[in-house]
Symmetry: C2
Subunit: 294 residues, 2 copies
């Protein structure tokens, strides 16, 4: 596995690979790799010739009161894990190479951010979209792989590549979970023993909500999710929402795809989780027949 | 000359040219071509294999009270002129292809815009940077050619490609002028006969200002430029500024490159012009020796 630090060298190397007819699969990360990242690398390996993993803790996507300084970092461990999973190039640029000075331009995300994490993490998705615009231009990937745990990020990135005509296919990959259902996250290391046990209820609340939504409207279902999480965890519930996906607007009966999403703040870790359900409101064939008879 | 309307077709065609090893020269325009545009096309022809000219009147870069609807358009004439100047591909996308819906993301320009035209044309350079990000991703040019008449645009675009790591070289080409010095512009057609005569004084004020700056400070020189234009034209002077280039900040003795820039609003046309001067404040060798002696 090659390790590249310079953005210029990376760009040249990737140009050579493209000229040689290779397809490039890209897994952008902030490091501290876990099974979720490794599954993205493995999936990329199945679909592309050259696999690039980037590790860059992007200051632009952290708010002033967020955990940029204490975000977990372990380069040697990441290097070993990325190589074992099949990465060909590990790209780990320095901050001063990515942002040599106050940027003249940044990306502003105008839609899909007034909900879920975007509502409280002001500017977060602007930072994500800005660094990904840069990374896509440096790595020139054919496909880029993202975990669906960060479903709002995937919604924003899909809008980014469509709106800016960036020639990369965005692949949203299924969330990897621990045996009890907890979504894998670099921030899980912040949980104490008790919080770790309670954390499984994020996924539990999402499973139950699908049943509740068959009986109750989305507002009542959200209330039941909040109540469930307040009863089963010591964390503070930041949001429980049911929205259309990827637009992240209040759901209507005609929406084909819905996201159920939760966020809970524990002592040192803010956890998120979601499930995306297709055709929840779509009538089955027999129901439609019944309707047309009446 | 090939005419392409679809963004998707354009992207595929350019990918083929790149794969075949051709270099692409790009001249983005809003149409109503004049000698200035044609000189960009000719310069591109000298430096690249395939020359793409785009014509797209970009709604995002016009303010609500600006001239989007009445911006001059003449496709048949443009087609003829572009072909004669040497264009290989004329790319003229429809608005609904460039902006199929309200964009999820746009580019925000954070620096180099709180001066000159950016001060009054709020959001103009955001629109310019957004459409150019799209066009660069659609056309994949090796070099893009811009007239230095829009020097602030070149400053912004240079920042854009640096900050977003876009693989294109920005070439700022000398302003083309009429025999009496008036900078060529699509908006010159709006001038009446009398205004057309007065308009030469924009360039005159820039020439005089270089002499004035040898005797007066930049603030006084700006005042003299304003007075000169008020005396010699019937238009209203929007700005006369001397700034560092490309940062567009108040000049200091250590600035190697200065821009002298003016804007005058006539009845139906707002005209701009500028000159860029290198090493205005740099001491000659003999002066430096004198200094070091004292």
């Amino acid at each position: 596995m090659k390790i590249v630090k310079s953005t210029q060298v990376m760009q040249k190397e990737m140009n050579l690979e493209k000229t040689a007819g290779k397809t490039i699969g890209f897994v952008p990360t902030m490091g501290y790799l876990h099974e979720g990242h490794l599954s993205l690398i493995k999936q990329a390996k199945e679909e592309c010739d050259i696999i690039v993993v980037s590790i860059f803790v992007n200051p632009l996507q952290f708010g002033p009161n967020e955990d940029f300084d204490r975000y977990p970092r372990d380069f040697e461990r990441d290097k070993k894990l990325a190589e074992e999973a099949g990465a060909d190039v590990l790209f780990c640029p320095e901050t001063k190479d990515m942002y040599p000075e106050e940027p003249v331009v940044t990306v502003s995300v105008n839609r899909r951010v007034d909900a879920l994490c975007g509502k409280t993490r002001i500017g977060h998705f602007d930072g994500v979209a800005t660094v990904l615009t840069k990374l896509f231009n440096i790595v020139s990937p054919n496909k880029a792989f993202f975990g669906m745990k960060d479903a709002q990020q995937v919604a924003v990135v899909t809008g980014l590549v469509e709106d800016f005509n960036i020639q990369v296919e965005i692949i949203g990959c299924e969330t990897k979970r621990e045996a009890d259902g907890l979504a894998m996250s670099s921030r899980n290391v912040y949980l104490d023993e008790n919080e770790r046990k309670e954390a499984l209820h994020l996924f539990q609340s999402l499973s139950r909500a699908q049943d509740w939504l068959l009986k109750y409207d989305s507002g009542d279902t959200e209330q039941k999710m909040i109540k469930y999480l307040e009863e089963h965890t010591s964390g503070s519930v930041e949001y429980c929402k049911i929205l259309s996906y990827p637009e992240l607007l209040p759901p209507t009966k005609s929406d084909k795809r819905l996201i159920f999403a939760v966020s809970v703040k524990f002592n040192k870790a803010r956890l998120i989780d979601n499930v995306i359900i297709d055709n929840m409101f779509i009538k089955t064939e027999s129901e439609e027949e019944t309707c047309s008879v009446h």
